[in-house]
Protein backbone atom coordinates (compact mmCIF):
# COMPACT_ATOMS: atom_id res chain seq x y z
CA UNK A 1 0.00 0.00 0.00
CA UNK A 2 2.70 2.40 1.08
CA UNK A 3 4.88 1.68 -1.98
CA UNK A 4 1.93 2.16 -4.31
CA UNK A 5 1.17 5.53 -2.72
CA UNK A 6 4.84 6.45 -3.04
CA UNK A 7 4.87 5.39 -6.71
CA UNK A 8 1.68 7.33 -7.38
CA UNK A 9 3.17 10.42 -5.79
CA UNK A 10 6.32 9.96 -7.83
CA UNK A 11 4.37 9.64 -11.08
CA UNK A 12 2.20 12.66 -10.32
CA UNK A 13 5.16 14.85 -9.42
CA UNK A 14 7.26 13.70 -12.35
CA UNK A 15 4.32 14.35 -14.68
CA UNK A 16 3.83 17.80 -13.21
CA UNK A 17 7.51 18.59 -13.67
CA UNK A 18 7.43 17.27 -17.23
CA UNK A 19 4.37 19.35 -17.98
CA UNK A 20 6.14 22.41 -16.67
CA UNK A 21 9.25 21.62 -18.72
CA UNK A 22 7.28 21.12 -21.90
CA UNK A 23 5.25 24.28 -21.36
CA UNK A 24 8.37 26.30 -20.80
CA UNK A 25 9.99 24.75 -23.84
CA UNK A 26 6.93 25.55 -25.91
CA UNK A 27 7.00 29.14 -24.80
CA UNK A 28 10.64 29.46 -25.72
CA UNK A 29 10.41 27.90 -29.16
CA UNK A 30 13.51 29.74 -30.24
CA UNK A 31 15.80 27.36 -28.37
CA UNK A 32 14.52 24.32 -30.25
CA UNK A 33 14.77 26.22 -33.51
CA UNK A 34 18.32 27.27 -32.66
CA UNK A 35 19.26 23.62 -32.13
CA UNK A 36 17.75 22.81 -35.52
CA UNK A 37 19.71 25.64 -37.04
CA UNK A 38 22.85 24.28 -35.41
CA UNK A 39 22.20 20.89 -37.00
CA UNK A 40 21.53 22.51 -40.37
CA UNK A 41 24.72 24.52 -40.20
CA UNK A 42 26.99 21.71 -39.06
CA UNK A 43 25.54 19.26 -41.59
CA UNK A 44 25.91 21.73 -44.39
CA UNK A 45 29.45 22.54 -43.27
CA UNK A 46 30.39 18.86 -43.38
CA UNK A 47 28.67 18.42 -46.73
CA UNK A 48 30.54 21.39 -48.13
CA UNK A 49 33.92 20.26 -46.76
CA UNK A 50 33.50 16.68 -47.91
CA UNK A 51 32.36 17.85 -51.32
CA UNK A 52 35.42 20.02 -51.85
CA UNK A 53 37.55 16.97 -51.09
CA UNK A 54 35.53 14.85 -53.48
CA UNK A 55 34.74 12.45 -50.68
CA UNK A 56 31.02 12.37 -51.31
CA UNK A 57 31.23 10.49 -54.57
CA UNK A 58 30.20 6.93 -53.75
CA UNK A 59 30.56 7.55 -50.02
CA UNK A 60 30.58 4.27 -48.15
CA UNK A 61 27.88 3.66 -45.58
CA UNK A 62 30.40 3.33 -42.74
CA UNK A 63 31.48 6.95 -43.19
CA UNK A 64 27.82 7.99 -43.35
CA UNK A 65 27.32 6.20 -40.05
CA UNK A 66 30.31 7.78 -38.32
CA UNK A 67 29.50 11.35 -39.44
CA UNK A 68 25.87 10.90 -38.46
CA UNK A 69 26.66 9.78 -34.93
CA UNK A 70 29.30 12.43 -34.35
CA UNK A 71 26.78 15.11 -35.34
CA UNK A 72 24.18 13.62 -33.00
CA UNK A 73 26.70 13.46 -30.15
CA UNK A 74 27.69 17.10 -30.46
CA UNK A 75 24.10 18.26 -30.91
CA UNK A 76 23.07 16.41 -27.75
CA UNK A 77 25.89 17.95 -25.72
CA UNK A 78 25.07 21.44 -26.95
CA UNK A 79 21.39 21.19 -26.27
CA UNK A 80 21.97 19.82 -22.76
CA UNK A 81 24.35 22.63 -21.90
CA UNK A 82 21.75 25.09 -23.25
CA UNK A 83 18.99 23.44 -21.21
CA UNK A 84 20.93 23.61 -17.96
CA UNK A 85 22.17 27.13 -18.47
CA UNK A 86 18.58 28.31 -18.97
CA UNK A 87 17.75 27.67 -15.34
CA UNK A 88 18.66 30.42 -12.95
CA UNK A 89 19.91 29.94 -9.39
CA UNK A 90 16.59 31.25 -8.11
CA UNK A 91 14.63 28.60 -9.96
CA UNK A 92 16.85 25.91 -8.41
CA UNK A 93 16.23 27.40 -4.99
CA UNK A 94 12.52 27.09 -5.68
CA UNK A 95 12.85 23.49 -6.86
CA UNK A 96 14.87 22.74 -3.77
CA UNK A 97 12.06 23.80 -1.46
CA UNK A 98 9.20 21.96 -3.19
CA UNK A 99 10.45 18.71 -4.76
CA UNK A 100 12.62 15.73 -4.05
CA UNK A 101 15.88 15.35 -6.00
CA UNK A 102 14.98 11.86 -7.24
CA UNK A 103 11.73 13.14 -8.78
CA UNK A 104 13.59 16.03 -10.30
CA UNK A 105 16.30 13.89 -11.92
CA UNK A 106 13.76 11.34 -13.21
CA UNK A 107 11.75 14.12 -14.85
CA UNK A 108 14.96 15.60 -16.22
CA UNK A 109 16.15 12.28 -17.66
CA UNK A 110 12.80 11.68 -19.37
CA UNK A 111 12.60 15.22 -20.70
CA UNK A 112 16.17 15.30 -21.97
CA UNK A 113 15.88 11.86 -23.56
CA UNK A 114 12.68 12.91 -25.30
CA UNK A 115 14.24 16.13 -26.45
CA UNK A 116 17.39 14.38 -27.67
CA UNK A 117 15.39 11.77 -29.56
CA UNK A 118 13.31 14.49 -31.19
CA UNK A 119 16.35 16.48 -32.31
CA UNK A 120 18.08 13.31 -33.47
CA UNK A 121 15.11 12.42 -35.64
CA UNK A 122 15.21 15.91 -37.10
CA UNK A 123 18.96 15.47 -37.58
CA UNK A 124 18.30 12.26 -39.46
CA UNK A 125 15.92 14.00 -41.86
CA UNK A 126 18.20 16.99 -42.35
CA UNK A 127 21.13 14.65 -42.81
CA UNK A 128 19.30 12.63 -45.48
CA UNK A 129 18.77 15.76 -47.55
CA UNK A 130 22.48 16.19 -48.28
CA UNK A 131 24.01 12.84 -47.54
CA UNK A 132 21.16 10.66 -48.75
CA UNK A 133 19.75 7.79 -46.73
CA UNK A 134 21.28 4.40 -47.54
CA UNK A 135 19.12 2.78 -44.85
CA UNK A 136 17.50 -0.54 -45.74
CA UNK A 137 15.94 -1.33 -42.40
CA UNK A 138 14.12 1.79 -41.32
CA UNK A 139 12.86 0.37 -38.02
CA UNK A 140 16.38 -0.44 -36.96
CA UNK A 141 17.73 3.05 -37.54
CA UNK A 142 14.77 4.41 -35.55
CA UNK A 143 15.59 1.99 -32.73
CA UNK A 144 19.26 2.94 -32.71
CA UNK A 145 18.42 6.66 -32.79
CA UNK A 146 16.03 6.14 -29.88
CA UNK A 147 18.53 4.17 -27.79
CA UNK A 148 21.61 6.06 -28.84
CA UNK A 149 20.48 9.61 -28.39
CA UNK A 150 18.70 8.79 -25.13
CA UNK A 151 21.88 7.19 -23.78
CA UNK A 152 23.90 10.28 -24.72
CA UNK A 153 21.23 12.41 -23.05
CA UNK A 154 21.35 10.33 -19.86
CA UNK A 155 25.15 10.40 -19.70
CA UNK A 156 25.45 14.11 -20.36
CA UNK A 157 22.60 14.98 -17.99
CA UNK A 158 24.71 13.76 -15.10
CA UNK A 159 27.94 15.35 -16.31
CA UNK A 160 26.16 18.68 -16.97
CA UNK A 161 24.62 18.50 -13.52
CA UNK A 162 28.10 17.89 -12.10
CA UNK A 163 29.68 20.82 -13.89
CA UNK A 164 26.78 23.22 -13.42
CA UNK A 165 27.81 26.41 -11.73
CA UNK A 166 31.53 25.89 -12.34
CA UNK A 167 33.69 28.39 -14.14
CA UNK A 168 34.31 26.54 -17.41
CA UNK A 169 31.27 24.32 -17.33
CA UNK A 170 30.85 23.88 -21.08
CA UNK A 171 34.36 22.48 -21.47
CA UNK A 172 34.08 20.44 -18.31
CA UNK A 173 30.87 18.78 -19.44
CA UNK A 174 32.58 17.47 -22.54
CA UNK A 175 35.75 16.51 -20.71
CA UNK A 176 33.82 14.52 -18.13
CA UNK A 177 31.51 12.90 -20.64
CA UNK A 178 33.70 12.10 -23.63
CA UNK A 179 35.72 9.21 -22.19
CA UNK A 180 32.51 7.60 -20.98
CA UNK A 181 30.65 8.06 -24.23
CA UNK A 182 33.28 6.19 -26.26
CA UNK A 183 31.78 2.76 -25.34
CA UNK A 184 28.29 4.10 -25.98
CA UNK A 185 29.06 5.51 -29.41
CA UNK A 186 30.89 2.29 -30.35
CA UNK A 187 27.86 0.20 -29.47
CA UNK A 188 25.38 2.57 -31.08
CA UNK A 189 27.29 2.85 -34.34
CA UNK A 190 27.51 -0.92 -34.49
CA UNK A 191 23.79 -1.20 -33.91
CA UNK A 192 22.92 1.30 -36.60
CA UNK A 193 25.40 -0.29 -39.03
CA UNK A 194 23.00 -3.22 -39.22
CA UNK A 195 20.32 -0.91 -40.57
CA UNK A 196 22.16 -0.66 -43.88
CA UNK A 197 21.62 -4.33 -44.60
CA UNK A 198 18.36 -6.17 -44.90
CA UNK A 199 19.48 -8.98 -42.59
CA UNK A 200 20.79 -8.58 -39.07
CA UNK A 201 23.96 -10.26 -37.88
CA UNK A 202 24.42 -12.50 -34.84
CA UNK A 203 25.90 -9.68 -32.79
CA UNK A 204 22.74 -7.59 -33.08
CA UNK A 205 21.02 -8.96 -29.97
CA UNK A 206 24.22 -8.85 -27.93
CA UNK A 207 24.82 -5.20 -28.85
CA UNK A 208 21.20 -4.32 -28.14
CA UNK A 209 21.27 -6.00 -24.72
CA UNK A 210 24.54 -4.34 -23.73
CA UNK A 211 23.28 -0.93 -24.81
CA UNK A 212 20.06 -1.39 -22.84
CA UNK A 213 22.14 -2.55 -19.88
CA UNK A 214 24.36 0.53 -20.13
CA UNK A 215 21.31 2.78 -20.25
CA UNK A 216 19.66 1.19 -17.24
CA UNK A 217 22.91 1.28 -15.22
CA UNK A 218 23.31 4.97 -16.03
CA UNK A 219 19.71 5.74 -15.07
CA UNK A 220 20.02 3.88 -11.76
CA UNK A 221 23.33 5.57 -10.94
CA UNK A 222 21.96 9.00 -11.81
CA UNK A 223 18.93 8.53 -9.57
CA UNK A 224 21.09 7.24 -6.71
CA UNK A 225 23.87 9.82 -7.02
CA UNK A 226 21.99 12.97 -7.98
CA UNK A 227 20.65 13.71 -4.48
CA UNK A 228 24.25 14.14 -3.29
CA UNK A 229 25.06 16.90 -5.78
CA UNK A 230 21.57 18.42 -5.72
CA UNK A 231 22.38 21.14 -3.26
CA UNK A 232 25.74 22.11 -4.70
Amino acid sequence: MRTSVYLLGLIIRVLALLKYDFQREFRQRMSFLSILLYVFAITYLLYFLLNTQGALVKMEVKYWNVIFWVIILFTTINELIAQFSKESEGLYLYYYTVIKPAHFIIARLIFHSFYAVLTSLMTYFIFSIWFGSPVENFGLILLSILLGSSSFAILFTLTTALSKGLKNNAVLTSVLGFPLCIPLITLVSRLSKEAFFSTTSDNFWINLTILLGFNSIMVVLSVILYPYIWRE
Binding site: L162, L176, M218
Partner: protein, 343 residues
Protein backbone atom coordinates in the same frame (compact mmCIF):
# COMPACT_ATOMS: atom_id res chain seq x y z
CA UNK B 1 45.15 0.38 5.31
CA UNK B 2 46.65 0.93 8.76
CA UNK B 3 48.14 -2.54 8.96
CA UNK B 4 50.60 -1.54 6.26
CA UNK B 5 52.27 0.76 8.76
CA UNK B 6 53.82 -2.30 10.24
CA UNK B 7 57.43 -2.51 9.23
CA UNK B 8 57.26 -6.18 8.42
CA UNK B 9 54.71 -5.71 5.67
CA UNK B 10 56.90 -3.06 4.10
CA UNK B 11 59.87 -5.39 4.24
CA UNK B 12 57.69 -8.13 2.75
CA UNK B 13 56.71 -5.79 -0.07
CA UNK B 14 60.35 -4.91 -0.84
CA UNK B 15 61.33 -8.55 -0.57
CA UNK B 16 58.58 -9.73 -2.94
CA UNK B 17 59.35 -7.12 -5.59
CA UNK B 18 63.09 -7.69 -5.29
CA UNK B 19 62.62 -11.45 -5.51
CA UNK B 20 60.46 -11.19 -8.61
CA UNK B 21 62.89 -8.71 -10.21
CA UNK B 22 65.97 -10.83 -9.50
CA UNK B 23 64.39 -14.15 -10.38
CA UNK B 24 62.52 -12.77 -13.35
CA UNK B 25 65.65 -11.27 -14.87
CA UNK B 26 68.26 -13.88 -13.90
CA UNK B 27 66.65 -17.25 -14.61
CA UNK B 28 67.43 -18.57 -18.08
CA UNK B 29 64.93 -19.56 -20.72
CA UNK B 30 64.51 -23.20 -21.52
CA UNK B 31 65.89 -24.36 -24.86
CA UNK B 32 63.57 -24.35 -27.83
CA UNK B 33 63.68 -24.25 -31.59
CA UNK B 34 64.82 -20.69 -32.21
CA UNK B 35 65.45 -20.33 -35.91
CA UNK B 36 63.65 -22.11 -38.66
CA UNK B 37 64.17 -21.75 -42.39
CA UNK B 38 62.34 -23.81 -44.92
CA UNK B 39 62.97 -24.69 -48.49
CA UNK B 40 60.34 -26.49 -50.48
CA UNK B 41 60.67 -28.18 -53.78
CA UNK B 42 58.18 -30.15 -55.76
CA UNK B 43 57.41 -32.92 -53.34
CA UNK B 44 59.89 -32.28 -50.57
CA UNK B 45 60.05 -29.83 -47.73
CA UNK B 46 63.37 -29.14 -46.03
CA UNK B 47 63.33 -27.52 -42.61
CA UNK B 48 66.57 -26.11 -41.22
CA UNK B 49 66.26 -25.45 -37.52
CA UNK B 50 68.53 -24.53 -34.67
CA UNK B 51 68.12 -25.43 -31.02
CA UNK B 52 71.09 -23.66 -29.48
CA UNK B 53 70.99 -24.57 -25.83
CA UNK B 54 69.78 -28.16 -26.03
CA UNK B 55 72.43 -30.65 -24.87
CA UNK B 56 70.54 -33.90 -25.32
CA UNK B 57 69.48 -35.69 -28.48
CA UNK B 58 65.97 -35.16 -29.83
CA UNK B 59 63.91 -38.31 -29.80
CA UNK B 60 61.20 -37.54 -32.31
CA UNK B 61 60.30 -34.83 -34.80
CA UNK B 62 56.92 -34.28 -36.41
CA UNK B 63 54.59 -31.65 -37.86
CA UNK B 64 51.13 -31.28 -36.39
CA UNK B 65 48.11 -29.11 -37.06
CA UNK B 66 48.29 -25.93 -35.00
CA UNK B 67 45.01 -26.19 -33.16
CA UNK B 68 44.87 -25.68 -29.44
CA UNK B 69 43.71 -28.76 -27.63
CA UNK B 70 43.85 -30.73 -30.86
CA UNK B 71 43.78 -34.33 -29.75
CA UNK B 72 43.85 -35.87 -33.20
CA UNK B 73 46.86 -38.00 -33.86
CA UNK B 74 47.41 -36.74 -37.38
CA UNK B 75 51.10 -36.06 -37.63
CA UNK B 76 53.77 -35.97 -40.27
CA UNK B 77 57.21 -37.41 -39.61
CA UNK B 78 60.33 -36.45 -41.55
CA UNK B 79 61.92 -38.99 -43.84
CA UNK B 80 65.52 -37.84 -43.31
CA UNK B 81 67.08 -36.27 -40.24
CA UNK B 82 70.54 -34.76 -40.31
CA UNK B 83 72.27 -33.52 -37.16
CA UNK B 84 74.18 -30.26 -37.32
CA UNK B 85 76.28 -28.53 -34.67
CA UNK B 86 73.46 -26.58 -33.07
CA UNK B 87 70.48 -27.89 -34.94
CA UNK B 88 68.98 -30.27 -37.37
CA UNK B 89 68.00 -30.50 -41.03
CA UNK B 90 64.71 -32.30 -41.56
CA UNK B 91 63.54 -33.54 -44.90
CA UNK B 92 59.90 -34.34 -45.52
CA UNK B 93 59.25 -36.08 -48.81
CA UNK B 94 56.05 -37.98 -49.20
CA UNK B 95 54.29 -39.14 -52.30
CA UNK B 96 50.59 -38.89 -51.55
CA UNK B 97 48.49 -35.95 -50.43
CA UNK B 98 47.28 -36.33 -46.94
CA UNK B 99 43.55 -35.66 -47.06
CA UNK B 100 43.09 -34.81 -43.40
CA UNK B 101 45.38 -31.82 -43.53
CA UNK B 102 43.51 -29.21 -45.47
CA UNK B 103 44.65 -26.34 -47.58
CA UNK B 104 45.77 -23.34 -45.57
CA UNK B 105 46.24 -25.35 -42.43
CA UNK B 106 48.98 -24.12 -40.15
CA UNK B 107 51.42 -26.70 -38.90
CA UNK B 108 53.50 -26.68 -35.73
CA UNK B 109 56.85 -28.37 -35.51
CA UNK B 110 57.22 -30.48 -32.38
CA UNK B 111 60.34 -32.18 -31.01
CA UNK B 112 60.25 -34.71 -28.22
CA UNK B 113 63.00 -34.49 -25.64
CA UNK B 114 63.53 -36.45 -22.49
CA UNK B 115 63.98 -33.76 -19.86
CA UNK B 116 62.39 -30.70 -21.50
CA UNK B 117 59.20 -32.36 -22.75
CA UNK B 118 57.79 -31.49 -26.14
CA UNK B 119 59.37 -28.43 -27.73
CA UNK B 120 57.02 -26.62 -30.08
CA UNK B 121 57.63 -24.10 -32.85
CA UNK B 122 54.30 -22.43 -33.54
CA UNK B 123 53.16 -21.90 -37.14
CA UNK B 124 56.28 -23.51 -38.54
CA UNK B 125 54.74 -24.08 -41.92
CA UNK B 126 51.68 -22.91 -43.82
CA UNK B 127 50.22 -25.46 -46.21
CA UNK B 128 49.34 -24.17 -49.60
CA UNK B 129 48.76 -25.64 -52.99
CA UNK B 130 51.55 -23.74 -54.69
CA UNK B 131 54.24 -25.77 -53.02
CA UNK B 132 52.28 -28.95 -53.48
CA UNK B 133 53.73 -30.68 -50.50
CA UNK B 134 52.66 -34.26 -50.28
CA UNK B 135 51.90 -35.38 -46.79
CA UNK B 136 51.59 -38.91 -45.56
CA UNK B 137 49.06 -40.01 -42.98
CA UNK B 138 50.43 -41.35 -39.80
CA UNK B 139 47.83 -42.51 -37.39
CA UNK B 140 49.86 -43.62 -34.43
CA UNK B 141 48.85 -42.05 -31.14
CA UNK B 142 51.58 -39.83 -29.76
CA UNK B 143 51.53 -38.26 -26.34
CA UNK B 144 53.82 -35.40 -25.43
CA UNK B 145 56.52 -36.48 -22.98
CA UNK B 146 56.33 -35.12 -19.45
CA UNK B 147 58.50 -32.10 -18.78
CA UNK B 148 60.86 -32.42 -15.88
CA UNK B 149 61.25 -29.55 -13.44
CA UNK B 150 63.89 -27.00 -14.40
CA UNK B 151 64.60 -23.53 -13.04
CA UNK B 152 63.82 -21.87 -16.34
CA UNK B 153 61.06 -19.97 -18.12
CA UNK B 154 59.24 -21.27 -21.18
CA UNK B 155 60.71 -20.22 -24.51
CA UNK B 156 57.76 -19.39 -26.72
CA UNK B 157 57.99 -18.86 -30.47
CA UNK B 158 57.30 -15.13 -30.64
CA UNK B 159 57.70 -14.11 -27.02
CA UNK B 160 61.26 -15.36 -26.40
CA UNK B 161 62.99 -13.33 -23.65
CA UNK B 162 60.10 -10.88 -23.47
CA UNK B 163 58.08 -13.45 -21.54
CA UNK B 164 59.72 -11.95 -18.43
CA UNK B 165 57.62 -8.83 -18.97
CA UNK B 166 54.71 -10.82 -17.55
CA UNK B 167 56.11 -10.06 -14.06
CA UNK B 168 56.12 -6.30 -14.69
CA UNK B 169 53.27 -5.62 -17.11
CA UNK B 170 50.43 -7.63 -15.61
CA UNK B 171 50.97 -6.67 -11.91
CA UNK B 172 50.62 -3.00 -12.91
CA UNK B 173 47.04 -3.62 -14.02
CA UNK B 174 46.27 -5.72 -10.96
CA UNK B 175 47.58 -2.92 -8.73
CA UNK B 176 45.64 -0.30 -10.68
CA UNK B 177 42.42 -2.32 -10.34
CA UNK B 178 42.95 -2.85 -6.61
CA UNK B 179 43.62 0.87 -6.04
CA UNK B 180 40.62 1.92 -8.14
CA UNK B 181 38.35 -0.37 -6.13
CA UNK B 182 39.87 1.10 -2.93
CA UNK B 183 39.17 4.59 -4.31
CA UNK B 184 35.58 3.62 -5.19
CA UNK B 185 34.98 2.25 -1.68
CA UNK B 186 36.27 5.48 -0.15
CA UNK B 187 34.10 7.57 -2.47
CA UNK B 188 31.03 5.63 -1.35
CA UNK B 189 32.13 5.96 2.28
CA UNK B 190 32.58 9.70 1.80
CA UNK B 191 29.05 10.12 0.43
CA UNK B 192 27.57 8.14 3.31
CA UNK B 193 29.62 9.66 6.14
CA UNK B 194 30.91 13.00 4.89
CA UNK B 195 34.35 12.66 6.48
CA UNK B 196 37.09 14.44 4.58
CA UNK B 197 39.68 11.68 5.16
CA UNK B 198 37.68 9.41 2.86
CA UNK B 199 37.81 12.00 0.12
CA UNK B 200 41.54 12.41 0.59
CA UNK B 201 42.09 8.66 0.39
CA UNK B 202 39.84 8.30 -2.64
CA UNK B 203 41.65 11.00 -4.59
CA UNK B 204 45.16 9.91 -3.60
CA UNK B 205 44.56 6.27 -4.45
CA UNK B 206 43.07 7.30 -7.81
CA UNK B 207 46.26 9.29 -8.43
CA UNK B 208 48.53 6.36 -7.57
CA UNK B 209 46.29 4.09 -9.67
CA UNK B 210 46.72 6.39 -12.67
CA UNK B 211 50.48 6.26 -12.14
CA UNK B 212 50.37 2.47 -12.25
CA UNK B 213 48.11 2.65 -15.29
CA UNK B 214 50.71 4.76 -17.10
CA UNK B 215 53.41 2.25 -16.14
CA UNK B 216 51.16 -0.57 -17.40
CA UNK B 217 50.65 1.19 -20.71
CA UNK B 218 54.40 1.85 -21.10
CA UNK B 219 55.47 -1.73 -20.33
CA UNK B 220 52.68 -2.98 -22.55
CA UNK B 221 53.75 -0.73 -25.43
CA UNK B 222 57.29 -2.08 -25.32
CA UNK B 223 55.96 -5.62 -25.23
CA UNK B 224 53.57 -4.94 -28.10
CA UNK B 225 56.38 -3.50 -30.23
CA UNK B 226 58.40 -6.64 -29.66
CA UNK B 227 55.68 -9.23 -30.22
CA UNK B 228 52.95 -7.64 -32.36
CA UNK B 229 55.20 -5.25 -34.28
CA UNK B 230 53.64 -1.93 -33.27
CA UNK B 231 53.54 0.24 -30.17
CA UNK B 232 49.79 0.62 -30.39
CA UNK B 233 47.20 -1.64 -31.97
CA UNK B 234 43.46 -1.26 -32.19
CA UNK B 235 42.84 -3.77 -29.45
CA UNK B 236 39.84 -3.58 -27.07
CA UNK B 237 42.08 -3.89 -24.02
CA UNK B 238 44.30 -1.05 -25.20
CA UNK B 239 41.28 1.10 -25.91
CA UNK B 240 39.96 0.26 -22.45
CA UNK B 241 43.25 1.32 -20.88
CA UNK B 242 43.28 4.58 -22.83
CA UNK B 243 39.68 5.36 -21.85
CA UNK B 244 40.50 4.61 -18.22
CA UNK B 245 43.36 7.08 -18.31
CA UNK B 246 41.08 9.72 -19.88
CA UNK B 247 38.39 9.11 -17.26
CA UNK B 248 40.78 9.60 -14.37
CA UNK B 249 42.38 12.63 -16.01
CA UNK B 250 38.87 14.08 -16.26
CA UNK B 251 38.40 13.23 -12.57
CA UNK B 252 41.47 15.30 -11.69
CA UNK B 253 40.39 18.13 -14.00
CA UNK B 254 37.05 18.19 -12.15
CA UNK B 255 38.84 18.29 -8.81
CA UNK B 256 41.17 21.00 -10.01
CA UNK B 257 38.41 23.30 -11.21
CA UNK B 258 36.73 23.49 -7.80
CA UNK B 259 37.93 25.56 -4.90
CA UNK B 260 35.32 24.75 -2.27
CA UNK B 261 36.54 21.63 -0.43
CA UNK B 262 33.20 20.05 0.39
CA UNK B 263 31.72 20.69 -3.03
CA UNK B 264 34.84 19.29 -4.64
CA UNK B 265 34.69 16.16 -2.52
CA UNK B 266 31.03 15.54 -3.28
CA UNK B 267 31.22 16.10 -7.03
CA UNK B 268 34.42 14.08 -7.31
CA UNK B 269 32.93 11.18 -5.36
CA UNK B 270 29.82 11.14 -7.55
CA UNK B 271 31.88 11.26 -10.73
CA UNK B 272 34.20 8.55 -9.43
CA UNK B 273 31.33 6.14 -8.71
CA UNK B 274 29.58 6.85 -11.99
CA UNK B 275 32.63 6.58 -14.20
CA UNK B 276 34.11 3.58 -12.42
CA UNK B 277 30.92 1.59 -12.99
CA UNK B 278 30.70 2.43 -16.68
CA UNK B 279 34.42 1.85 -17.13
CA UNK B 280 34.20 -1.57 -15.48
CA UNK B 281 31.27 -2.61 -17.66
CA UNK B 282 33.23 -1.41 -20.66
CA UNK B 283 36.49 -3.21 -19.99
CA UNK B 284 34.93 -6.46 -18.79
CA UNK B 285 32.25 -6.89 -21.43
CA UNK B 286 33.49 -5.34 -24.68
CA UNK B 287 36.74 -7.33 -25.00
CA UNK B 288 34.67 -10.48 -24.64
CA UNK B 289 32.65 -9.74 -27.77
CA UNK B 290 35.53 -8.28 -29.78
CA UNK B 291 38.65 -10.00 -30.99
CA UNK B 292 41.71 -9.15 -29.01
CA UNK B 293 45.36 -9.96 -29.44
CA UNK B 294 45.72 -10.49 -25.71
CA UNK B 295 45.88 -14.00 -24.31
CA UNK B 296 42.53 -15.34 -23.23
CA UNK B 297 40.49 -13.29 -25.72
CA UNK B 298 39.10 -13.86 -29.18
CA UNK B 299 40.20 -17.47 -29.45
CA UNK B 300 43.69 -16.79 -28.16
CA UNK B 301 44.73 -19.16 -25.42
CA UNK B 302 45.04 -17.65 -21.97
CA UNK B 303 48.33 -17.49 -20.20
CA UNK B 304 47.39 -20.31 -17.91
CA UNK B 305 46.84 -22.76 -20.76
CA UNK B 306 50.41 -23.32 -21.75
CA UNK B 307 52.55 -20.35 -20.95
CA UNK B 308 52.14 -20.17 -17.25
CA UNK B 309 54.10 -23.11 -16.06
CA UNK B 310 54.97 -23.65 -12.44
CA UNK B 311 58.20 -21.66 -12.50
CA UNK B 312 56.35 -18.66 -13.95
CA UNK B 313 53.78 -18.92 -11.17
CA UNK B 314 56.53 -18.98 -8.54
CA UNK B 315 57.49 -15.46 -9.63
CA UNK B 316 54.22 -14.11 -11.00
CA UNK B 317 52.06 -14.33 -7.86
CA UNK B 318 54.70 -12.83 -5.53
CA UNK B 319 55.20 -10.03 -8.05
CA UNK B 320 51.46 -9.28 -8.09
CA UNK B 321 51.29 -9.28 -4.30
CA UNK B 322 54.41 -7.15 -3.96
CA UNK B 323 53.25 -4.51 -6.42
CA UNK B 324 49.78 -4.33 -4.86
CA UNK B 325 51.41 -3.81 -1.44
CA UNK B 326 53.63 -1.15 -2.96
CA UNK B 327 50.59 0.61 -4.46
CA UNK B 328 48.86 0.78 -1.09
CA UNK B 329 52.08 1.82 0.62
CA UNK B 330 52.50 4.69 -1.84
CA UNK B 331 48.89 5.72 -1.33
CA UNK B 332 49.35 5.68 2.42
CA UNK B 333 52.51 7.80 2.17
CA UNK B 334 50.81 10.21 -0.22
CA UNK B 335 47.84 10.64 2.12
CA UNK B 336 50.18 11.23 5.09
CA UNK B 337 52.15 13.80 3.13
CA UNK B 338 48.95 15.69 2.37
CA UNK B 339 47.81 15.50 5.98
CA UNK B 340 51.19 16.84 7.19
CA UNK B 341 50.98 19.71 4.73
CA UNK B 342 47.44 20.45 5.78
CA UNK B 343 48.30 20.81 9.45
Amino acid sequence: MNFLNQRFLQFLCIFLIGYSFLGGLLLPLSPNIEKLDYKSEDTTLVLNLSIPKLKEKVGLFYLKKSVLGDTSSLILKPTHIQKLETGYVLKFSHPSLFKEFQKEDVLDLICHTETWGGLRYFSAYYLDTVIGTRLLPNNEKINLPEKQFHWSFPNRTILRESIRNLFYHVPMWFTMMALLIYSLVHSILYLSSGKMTHDLKASRSAGVASFFGVLGILTGMIWAKFTWGAFWTNDPKLNGAAIGMLVYLAYFVLRGSLDDEIKRAKLAAVYNIFSFTIYMVFIWILPRINDSLHPGNGGNPGFNVYEQDNVMRLFFYPAVLGWIFLGFWLTEAYVKLKEKKGE
